[in-house]
């Protein structure tokens, strides 16, 4: 399907049933962890163009670890991580950033002593030349941030900090965005807002991999979900399929 059809369908908000674009990220048999112990015992995952993929699972299942493995923050000892046709396993984070993958950590994901505007500028650190187009795009996504652009990020509420963190990651115009529990500790209002922004980003053409504790809410709008347990794949399916699966519901979604 050509790009223009996608754009048109997004503009007109038409559902494209069964649409599956080209793969952006393909993980095959990824093993790795911190130190010598393998936390990931062979994880397979695929994120296609313009998809939201949610990773759910119990604590210690390796959800965040899988994300860190993609971003080069821990040793990958086996398997491949192919992004946009290139195996990036073993690359350093700053190289991965340039390859179109941006990552929002769960904690400490802002520069507290810097203003909102400076946080966004730091996100575009690797870009040369004018960044006003990206700034404008981020401020359009997060109008709250534009009003408070000169505020120190450390003085913001939890929800607004999360917006700064996401905004920072978007400044390089990534093709794949990794979000590690973006709604942890947020009020339901902000949670809904973050989820809505995530959907808007997908509709604007981005692929998103999301680790989420609020599994039910996230699977409700996810294109695809993976259930991880003990460092390997347990289930996979569309968001709706996983929500409907009795075993998944009982074991991992709290009944």
């Amino acid at each position: 399907m050509s790009q223009s059809v996608i754009e048109q369908s997004v503009a007109e908000n038409i559902e494209l049933p069964g649409y599956s674009g080209k793969p952006i990220l393909t993980m095959t048999g990824v093993r790795g962890g911190y130190g010598d112990a393998d936390i990931l015992q062979g994880v397979d995952m695929q994120v296609s163009e313009q998809e939201i993929v949610v990773i759910v699972g119990p604590n210690g299942a390796g959800k965040s670890t899988a994300m860190k493995a993609i971003f080069g923050l821990l040793k990958v000892r086996g398997g491949s991580i192919v992004v946009n046709g290139t195996n990036i396993a073993g690359w350093k984070p700053n190289r991965i950033v340039q390859h179109g993958v941006c990552y929002v950590p769960q904690v400490d994901n802002i520069f507290r002593e810097m203003t909102i505007h400076e946080n966004l500028e730091m996100g575009a650190f690797l870009r040369k030349g004018d960044i006003s187009d990206s700034l404008e795009r981020v401020y359009t996504l997060f109008p709250d941030l534009k009003e408070r652009r000169s505020t120190l990020a450390g003085n913001l509420s939890g929800g607004q900090r999360q917006m700064v963190a996401m905004g920072r990651a978007l400044m390089l115009n990534p093709s794949l965005l990794l979000l590690d529990e973006p709604t942890a500790g947020l009020s339901p209002k902000y949670m809904e807002q973050i989820f809505e922004i995530t959907r808007n980003l997908r509709d604007a053409g981005l692929s998103i991999l999301l680790v989420e504790q609020h599994a039910k809410q996230a699977l409700a709008f996810a294109d695809k979900g993976y259930v991880l347990a003990a460092g390997s794949n347990r289930h996979e399916g569309t968001g709706q399929e996983l929500l409907a699966d009795r075993e998944v519901a009982e074991m991992f979604l709290g009944g």
Binding site: F71, P93, N94, V97, Q98, Y103, P105, D108, N109, I110, F111, R112, E113, M114, E118, E121, M122, G123, F125, L126, R168
Partner: protein, 290 residues
């Protein structure tokens, strides 16, 4: 005591000494904030800067003010070199090992100064300079230049940190090193840039101590405690705080002789350090907790 006497004999010397401390403290705060260790060779790097300027003065017969920029550049490269050979080599090791190695560097730098220039007291210029009288304030030109130069150097640094891409990268590295790396900031470049700036500040600090007093191989080492007190008083990682802290320590040291015997002047920095750590460990301007 008349007010002008207090200003002329206690407050002004305090501000001059405080400016010298401030230049050192700003460098210490940058190393603390960005590289995250206590740099114990700071004072002796300042000594080296002061003597490097003396070397330029004696070899080329130029004014000390011409020698200052040369000494700054020399110290910048020295600091980068020391980092490359020692601190960077130890960067993966526990920080306490880097701190201890900086103590070793301090001794090496001092020995270097003693080998080249001897152990005698030196001066940039001979003769006594009488203070000028400005509306009752008695101050020497070199003292005015010291204060102005401190504010000018720190001012330029502040603008650099606030407005330029690499200045912001330095602040980002101080604020959240992991996130700075995720944003693609090159740790090595920031480290080298920091050392270059630290070298420049050290040279300035040593030079101004030398031009206002004398040059001695131990001059920098004795400044180390007051400079650390100023850094922590102002708040670790805070450039503005280091300036405020430096001025306070300098003024307190000089005015303390009104109340206690002059021999205890040097203990004032220690008293301030102890007090601030007990009362407000983050410093006046809310720096990092050590």
């Amino acid at each position: 005591m008349p007010f002008m006497e207090f200003v002329n004999f206690y407050l002004m010397p305090g501000i001059v000494l405080g400016s010298i401390y401030a230049l050192g403290a700003v460098g210490i705060t940058l190393v603390f904030g960005i590289l995250r260790f206590a740099h114990l060779a700071h004072g002796d790097l300042a000594t080296l800067g002061a003597f490097a300027a003396l070397g330029v003065v004696t070899i080329f017969g130029v004014s000390p003010w011409v020698a200052l920029p040369v000494a700054m550049i020399f110290c910048a490269f020295m600091a980068i070199g020391i980092d490359k050979v020692f601190y960077d080599y130890l960067s993966e090791r526990p920080k306490i090992i880097v701190v201890m190695s900086s103590l070793g560097i301090a001794l090496m730098l001092r020995a270097l100064v003693q080998v080249i220039w001897g152990v005698d007291t030196e001066t940039y210029t001979r003769g006594i300079v009488r203070p000028e009288n400005y509306w009752g304030i008695r101050i020497r030109d070199r003292e005015i230049y010291t204060i102005i130069a401190m504010f000018a150097i720190v001012g330029v640094l502040w603008v650099f940190l606030q407005k330029t891409k690499w200045g912001k990268a330095m602040r980002a590295m101080s604020d959240n090193p992991d996130l700075a790396l995720l944003s693609g900031v090159d740790n090595r470049k920031v480290t080298m840039l920091t050392w270059a700036i630290v070298g420049i500040l050290c040279a300035a600090s040593g030079f101004f101590l030398g031009i206002n007093t004398e040059l001695k191989p131990l001059m920098g080492w004795t400044m180390l405690l007051p400079m650390f007190a100023a850094t922590i008083l102002g708040g670790v990682g805070r450039v503005e705080g280091a300036v405020v802290g430096g001025l306070i320590v300098g003024i307190v040291e000089e005015t303390s002789v009104l109340l206690i015997p002059g021999e205890y002047k040097a203990a004032m920095a220690f008293a301030i350090l102890l007090l601030i750590l007990l009362v407000r460990p983050t410093g006046l301007l809310k720096g990092k907790v050590l």
